[in-house]
Every structure is written in C-alpha cells, then in structure tokens.
C-alpha cells in the first residue's frame, strides 16, 4: 500500500517553568488509504499528534520530527503560507465539539461556502450548490433550511455532520478526526460514523481517528495505535484489539463495564512506570 503520510520520530515539547514537558515523545507511523485509530487516555498525546501533523501547535510549543511527509513532501519544511494550502485542502481536521468549532455569528451556509471558496475560484452560486450537495451527502434533511440557520439552532449530531461536510468539500487526501463523536449520543454516534466511513471509502481517503473509546475504535478502524504518555506502546489490527498483549491496553479493556458482565467490581488500571520508559513502537506498515 502506498503511504499518504509518513511520520518519523515526532516530538511535541512545551517549555514550562519546571523544565521542558514532552507531550509526544518520538512517535513514528505511516498512514495509507486506511482507517487508522489512535487511542489512549487524556494526556497521552493523541490529540497533540493529530495537531502536530497540521502544524497547529502554537508557540511556545515546539514540534520536532525527522520528517512528516505528505506524499513524499516534508510538511515541516513548508512556510506558513504554503501550510495554509495544505490545511483544509489536503489534510482536514474534524474537531471534538461542534459548539466551539463553528462560527456562532455566521449561517451554516455561509460558513461552508466560505470554506469552499477559500481554495477554488468558484462562483457564489456554484459554491452554494456544492454546499447543498455536501449537506445532503452527510444525510441532513431539508438542507436548504439548514443553509440559512445559525449554529445554535442545530443539535450536536447535526453540528458534527455539518463540520464533516465542511471538511470534506475540498476533497482532502487525509481526514483527521479528533474525538468526532464523543459529544454525541450513542444512537447518533453510529450515524455520524457510518457517514464518515462511507465518504472515506468512496473517495479513497486516509483517516486518522483519534478516540478514547476502545470499543468504537475496534469496531470502526483497520489499524490501531495505542498511546501512553506520549509514546506508542502497541500497534495492532483493530479486529484483534481484544487480543492485545500490552498490560496497558489490557488494563483499559478490562476497566470497561460490560453489559453482560456480572463482576461486582471493575478492574482498576495499575500503572507501571516502566511503560513510559520503554521506547515507542513503530506504527509503520
């Protein structure tokens, strides 16, 4: 499989008063035309990895890597201006909470049209039609009405689908989804995932799916990276996640309450300081 993205030895550092804090510590992985899941607890560096790829880490944060290659071109060597042509156009990102990611004083339609016209020289009416078409692609009923309303008038699930529509309009090669469904209900979660799955398949995109929900990732992705304190501790095929060997992955799996479980007490994860010392496992294919 060809590699869309190739990340080698990625570090994200934040200088603090008490020394440099390493949020991501030497992570390497590749992404083909597949669904790659990144799981871990809060603070494990999974979101930082996603942001670092798009160079969205702000000062004083530092991103270092041997290379972050997008189809053979190193993103780290690009200027800020060249980066803008990558963000949204070639690599898109769907954030966790639509409430904070949509502009509250612009109608949904205007926002999607703006995103589209940013890179194409399409006319307004052309962009309008494209936006309508995209909203229908993410199964929004009554798209013409939705184009005219404001973000506070849509529900969480709808907001998330609008975000996905907006991100997919420029036809990016890679979609990074940072906890796209954690603000949603179980019943809506499925819908959003199915839509994402369909679009990714139809367009042959690469997807990085960042989540803390192990079952969801096991269900939805092809390959999973498990992160702990800034490093990848285990890589496995998603359908074999339940046979994972690393004690951290096992601990996470065992601490989930089960619908059919009869155990009185849940197992509590016992952290081993050794885990954060062992070097990162490579997520290369």
């Amino acid at each position: 499989m060809e590699n869309l993205l190739d990340v080698e030895n990625l570090w994200v550092k934040f200088p603090t008063r008490t020394g440099v804090f390493d949020a991501v510590r030497g992570v390497s992985f590749t992404l083909g035309r597949e669904r790659l899941g990144i799981v871990g607890e809060s603070g494990s560096g999974k979101s930082m990895t996603g942001r670092a790829i798009l160079r969205l880490i702000r000062n004083p944060g530092i991103v270092e890597a041997d290379h972050i290659n997008l189809e053979g071109v190193n993103l780290l060597k690009k200027s800020e201006k060249e980066m803008r042509a990558v963000r949204g156009q070639r690599i898109s990102m769907v954030m966790q909470d639509p409430k904070f990611s949509l502009n509250p004083v612009m109608t949904i339609g205007d926002q999607i049209i703006e995103a589209y016209r940013q890179q194409t020289k399409a006319s307004k009416s052309e962009a309008y039609n494209k936006a309508l078409e995209m909203l229908e692609a993410v199964s929004i009923r009554d798209a013409e009405r939705v184009m005219r309303i404001y973000p506070h008038e849509v529900s969480g699930g709808m907001g998330q689908r609008i975000m996905i529509a907006m991100m997919l309009i420029p036809n990016p090669e890679i979609l990074i989804a940072d906890e796209p469904t954690s603000a949603l209900d179980v019943s809506v979660q499925r819908q959003v995932l199915d839509i994402m799955d369909k679009l990714v398949k139809d367009r042959g995109m690469g997807l990085i799916f960042i989540s803390h929900d192990l079952n969801l990732v096991a269900d939805f992705c092809d390959r999973v990276l498990i992160m702990y304190s800034g490093r990848i501790v285990e890589v496995c095929d998603a359908d074999k996640l339940h046979e994972a060997k690393h004690p951290y992955t096992r601990g996470l799996l065992n601490s989930l309450p089960r619908l059919d479980g009869k155990d009185k007490r849940l197992q509590v994860l016992k952290r081993d300081p050794e885990w954060s010392k062992t070097p990162s496992v490579s997520g290369r294919l």
Binding site: E41, V186, G251, P257, R258, L259, D260, R265, L266, V268
Partner: protein, 246 residues
C-alpha cells in the same frame, strides 16, 4: 416504603407559546438501598428529573416524595440532609478559588455540624483521597480526583439518597472504573440509595438494579437489569438503544 417515589411528574420550561415540556407524566419508585438508572439520549429529560427533585427546575407538577415525606415547592433544610447530588462535569462543579478544605467545611457548616475538622478528615479518607489533598485547589487535581471531592461534598451531610447526573461521562475509562467502584463501596458502607442518570447502558447495567428508558420526556419502559443484560427489552426504542451500545 420506597425511598423515592415520583408520580405523574411534569416539568416544563418557558411560558405560553415557548413552553417546552421536558418531562411528561413520569412515574417510578426507588426502594431503599436500591440503585435506579435513567437512560436515554440527550434531551430526553433524564437530567431534568433529577433537577426537579432537588429543586433546580422550579416549574413542575405531580407528586414527589422522599422517604415517605412529600416534597413541597419550598424545600425544608432537612430535605438537603437526605438528598444530595453529584454533577456531570467535575471541572465545572467545584469553585475554582475554594480549596478542598473550604468546599467540604462550608458544606458541613451549613448543615450545622460542629466537629468539622474531624469530619473533613474522615470524608477525604472515605473517598480515597487522604490528607495530602485537603488544602489543594481544583486546578491542582485531576478529573477523577475532582469527582472524588464532589462525591465527598455530597456525602458530607450524611444523605440517604444520592442523585448522580452522569458522574463519569467526563472521565477516562480507567478513571471511570475507579469512580464506579468508589460509588459502589459508598453505597454499601453508608446504605445509600442511588438515582443515576447515564447515557451509557453498560455503566447502568453495572451499577443499577432497575432502570427506566426515556425518550422525548416520557418513560417508555421500566425494566430490571437482568432483562437488560439478556437484551429482553420490549419497547422498540429500548431495543434500538441496546443494539446501538453493543
């Protein structure tokens, strides 16, 4: 006699044309020492029921009674000694400029306790935090530790009924396990009764004895946990929820 009885509860927001009926004639009973779950999607009115019981949602009608005593619109001080609530977001429910000690001793003071110092120590030990956390501020605590403080605060007046509004949905799975274990221990030690709201069916299956499934403000089905585990929900909506969470 049941610990909590809810009969024909209606809760609404707004007036006249903008009136929204958030809960429509909900009825259920929770026995003493039991743990009862409320599940449903967001906007189904499950949290609103808890808020109506504590008095945070002022517009309600119907009959509520705790431990055999009917709740009136103006709640007595004794009510808050028996009923306490733990909120969803531990990041938002603690005062950012109050230390753990202030949070707990203020609560104890308001409820008229005298041996405050000893009780704060005991509460912190009970929730597994210990002495070294006593003078910390919320920003110095992790999400799980904050939720422990919130639980300690709820336990301070020695309540018998705890209302839990999604107590673990803002936490990691590993921390969720710790908090659920703590809640199970507390229930056993203090003989508490729980009314727990969650959208996660497996959490409810783990914690509760009985549960009610809600949709659009109505309770569509009440079933016990055995029926839930064996997937024997009768209402199509509960079946749909079950399928979505497996």
């Amino acid at each position: 006699m049941s610990m909590l009885s809810v009969k024909n509860l209606n809760v609404w927001f707004g007036k006249h044309s903008s009136r929204v009926d958030a809960v429509k004639s909900a009825s259920f009973e929770v026995e003493r020492g039991q743990s009862f779950g409320l599940v449903g999607e967001s906007g189904s009115g499950k949290s609103t029921i808890l808020r109506a019981i504590t008095g945070l949602a002022p517009n309600w009608s119907g009959a509520l009674s705790v431990d055999g005593e009917a709740i009136e619109k103006k709640r007595q001080k004794a009510f808050y000694k028996t009923v306490q609530m733990v909120f969803q977001d531990p990041y938002a429910s603690l005062h950012p400029r109050h230390s753990v000690d202030q949070v707990l001793s203020e609560t104890l003071h308001l409820h008229g306790f005298t041996n405050i110092d000893a009780r704060v120590v005991k509460l912190l030990d009970d929730v597994g935090l210990g002495q070294k956390f006593r003078f910390r501020y919320p920003h110095q605590l992790s999400g799980g530790q904050r939720q422990r403080v919130a639980i300690a605060r709820a336990l301070a007046p020695d309540p018998t009924l705890l209302l839990l509004d999604e107590p673990t949905s803002a936490l990691d799975v590993s921390v969720q396990a710790e908090i659920l274990n703590l809640l199970a221990d507390m229930r056993e030690e203090h003989g508490l009764t729980y009314l727990m709201v969650s959208h996660d069916l497996s959490v409810v299956a783990h914690m509760c004895d009985n549960l009610a499934v809600m949709r659009n403000g109505e309770i569509v089905e009440i079933l016990d946990v055995e029926a839930l585990r064996s997937m024997q929900a009768t209402h199509p909506y509960s079946q749909h929820l079950l399928q979505a969470s497996v």
